[in-house]
Amino acid sequence: MSVADLQRAHPASHIHPAPQGFISKYIFSLDHKVIAVQYFITSGLFFVLAGLLAELVRVQLTQPHNNFLDAATFNEAFTVHGSAMVWLVAIPVLTGGFGNLIMPLQIGARDVAFPWLNMLSFWLFPPAGILLFGSFLLGAPQAGWTEYPPVSVLASPGTSMWCAAIFLIGISSTITGLNFLVTIIKMRAPGMTWTRMPLFVWASAVTAFLNFIATANLSISLAVLFIQRTFHVPFYDPVHGGSPVLWQHMFWFYSHPAVYIMILPAFGIVSEILPTMVRRPIFGYKAIAYSSVAITLVSFMVWAHHMFTSGLAQWIQLPFMIMTMAVAIPTGVKVFSWVATLWGGRIRFTTPLLFVLGFLSTFTLGGITGVFLGSVPADVHEHGTYFIVAHLHYVLFGGSIFGLFAGLYYWWPKMTGRMLDETLGKFHFWLMFVSFNATFFPMHWLGLLGMPRRVATYDPAFHGTNLFVSISAFVLGASMLIFAYNALRSARRGKPAGPNPWGGRTLEWMIPSPPPYYNFKELPVVLSGPYDYGKPLPYLNVDPAIMQLADAPAY
């Protein structure tokens, strides 16, 4: 089968004309690149709001008995902070944002399988955010982002808005997941077999799978919570034979996979940036790819490890403990492979690489505390304390958010055609890395010594540590300003990037940045995997002038 045939038979081989007019180009765009930018901007705003809420929480906790916020407001603050960070920032940016921006480029497609659904799932997202933050008008939800009944059933009307908001997000990410999985299965460039896919595509594939399986379950459990609140249908109501523990099962059956929805794309980003900056093949390509699959499958069988103190029978707890510990193994394989990738490289200390190294360091600690939480007896002591807060921030902030920033610095040129400033970026990294650890590491200690989570007042014995944590948290917040300034600055003063500033070898670097409407004038043909540094690029039908840039990176 000749190259021409391969392309002719390819689904994306027929080309639609680019849209004219502002609305169809920038608002209701069908172009995955534009939709990605829309995701970034929207969740950027929500990230700021949710971050401010976190700072409010930390202000309250500077004193053991502070009157800065009353108890109800405090509860609203940490609840909306958690919900927004999970559902309006981490998941949309990592799947909707990077998935849309990079995945179709890396598989050499002209767009996703269902552009219209793609647009739809974005436009379900801003209303969700507005609903969630708007709930402050009716009295925001107060039961924490997990919203355990009966508290969430008895709570303020805002909780119903919370249900509606997260339901929209659920539908949105279900559609995205479905869309991406079909895209990856059906629309890879000619010759791109599964084992020739970049690792970010592997990550997107498994994430998409999790998205459209697990998130459907989330939507339904939220719908049930909603009808219980509105029509008093006694699903979670112990008085009429229902069970509050049922919610915990249904919620965590989604929400445990959800933490992998938030971390797997970050894994993918790390696996992309490392080889580019280290200038050598990623160590253990297959190990990394297949361990993602393993994590995905196991993640459906571990949900009850969030419920070890909910009165489950021992014979139920045991298998969940075992499966939870099993997750540690593929995760460990990934981390060790990344470290081994650093060995024998020609490492170029760019900002993306710094964030990746930061990710490796913090995520390793987060993963290890995860094992601490997986062992039932140990979890009994840690559950519901600041140890949990520390652990989840080490994996979600130290993992997802570090990966997110690494990806932003790395792929910013593909969005804007300009570089972010490297010096500012490095400053941003060091400030963020130090203040992050200063903020969250002491929390392990607080939790083990007996500070419960979700409290507005605490034992004065913990005052000193909490004050330190709060101050570090303010610095952490401030470090984001550097990035904001850097981003705005790059719009005018940023150095024009050219198609391939980092010398990457994956397909998104084989086209101009920002890419044209069709991404690829003619579809590339892939002859082998993307990470063989020092060998000629394995692509046909790619502009040779651009291909040469892969060997002489500007940074």
């Binding site: 112990p238 093949p281 103190t309 540690a328 460990g332 290890i368 039932v376």
Partner: protein, 363 residues
């Protein structure tokens, strides 16, 4: 490609770094082993030691992982940085797989996890099973936002502070209830010094079992978010010597029965409809007007006087009005915990008569 694949070699610098990291981790591991947990957070119950052993075990093996991962990141980052004089296009080693290495770092964690799993399993029964040897079953009820405790044979409940005798195995039945049962929410019973935690769930009774091993005053904390008062939902567990506990208990009994005192009840004068109102107000937090096995905190009471499923209550004979009246007066200590008595419920003799009249109507 024509180029020969280079073979995998580790230079002297690598082994130096490895040695250094090894020394660091050994020092830290010694630190973990010798760390005086008890002086930081008292190990005040039978559940503490196995759990702290798990913590030590996990920390012991986590230390080298953390040290080596971070150490190698730093070492490689410095050792393999791109030198100024190198051309932009220079690339690193093309080795991208090493079977032995990868198997090693897959198998070692597997082994660790298996061992950890076994150890955890062995530590599990400590507090989950209702102890065969437990000398007393105390009932702890979470309310918004305080803890209530009921002792066997004590005809009124104790709030805020839980008194326990040192060295005596106890079982604590945990649940959550409110006067208006629709408002009952999930709380959690945590004593950090005991390493014991269990949620208090409305409609469920979960026993935990342990033995206090050190005299002292410990924290009792709610760790499951339960509403605006959650932050303030704290109490104390006060572990005292056997003698001191007996004294305290005797005192409790005295001021209980002082309020009590035997009254005569005219069962004939009972009014079922008043009784029903009283039942919904006073009893329905713990009892259903449904068959025996439909239990909330206590058993369902429908058909109380005729149902063979009901256990023989007081003196081995099936329940009769007098026995039930006696229970309502003096409270009751059963496998599910203690039922508060007349004073705790604030029932007059007339109320009791009404309640019995109502219970007799439940067929």
């Amino acid at each position: 490609m024509s180029k020969q694949p280079e073979e995998f070699r580790l230079d002297a610098g690598f082994w130096k770094a490895t040695g250094l990291l090894g020394v660091i981790s050994i020092l830290l591991m010694i630190g973990v082993v010798t760390f005086p947990i008890n002086s930081v957070l008292r190990e005040a119950s039978s559940a503490s030691l196995p759990i702290d052993f798990l913590f030590r075990f996990m920390a012991f093996f986590s230390v080298p992982i953390i040290v080596f991962v971070n150490g190698y990141i730093i070492y490689f980052a410095i050792r393999y940085r791109r030198r100024k004089d190198e051309p932009m296009g220079s690339v690193g080693s093309s080795i991208h797989d090493h079977r032995v290495l990868e198997n090693t770092w897959t198998i070692i964690p597997c082994v660790l996890m298996v061992v950890l799993g076994v150890l955890s399993y062995l530590a599990m029964p400590q507090y989950y099973l209702r102890g065969k040897d437990s000398a007393a079953t105390i009932e702890a009820i979470g309310h918004t936002f305080y803890f209530e405790f009921r002792y066997p044979g004590l005809n009124h409940s104790v709030d805020e502070d839980l008194y326990l005798p040192v060295g005596v195995p106890v079982t604590i039945d945990l649940t959550s209830a409110e006067a208006d049962e629709r408002l009952a929410v999930i709380h959690s019973f945590w004593v950090p010094e005991f390493r014991v935690k269990q949620d208090m769930i409305p409609g469920m009774i979960v026993p935990i079992h342990f033995t206090p091993t050190q005299i002292g005053k410990y924290h009792l904390i709610c760790t499951e978010f339960c509403g605006v008062g959650h932050s303030e939902m704290r109490g104390h567990v006060i572990v005292v010597s056997r003698a001191a506990f007996d004294a305290w208990y005797a005192g409790q009994q005295k001021n209980g029965s002082a309020a009590g005192g035997a009254q005569t009840i005219n069962l004939a004068a009972g009014n079922a409809s008043n009784g029903q109102a009283l039942f919904n107000q006073k009893c329905s937090a713990c009892h259903n007007a449904a068959p025996f096995d439909q239990r909330k905190v206590g058993p369902g009471l429908a058909n109380l006087f005729h149902d063979p499923a009901h256990p023989n209550l007081v003196d081995g004979k099936p329940a009769n009005a007098k026995d039930v009246a006696w229970i309502l007066q003096h409270g009751f200590q059963g496998p599910l915990g203690a039922m508060p008595n007349q004073q705790a419920n604030g029932l007059s003799p007339k109320d009791i008569a009404d309640l019995i009249a109502y219970l007799q109507t439940l067929k």
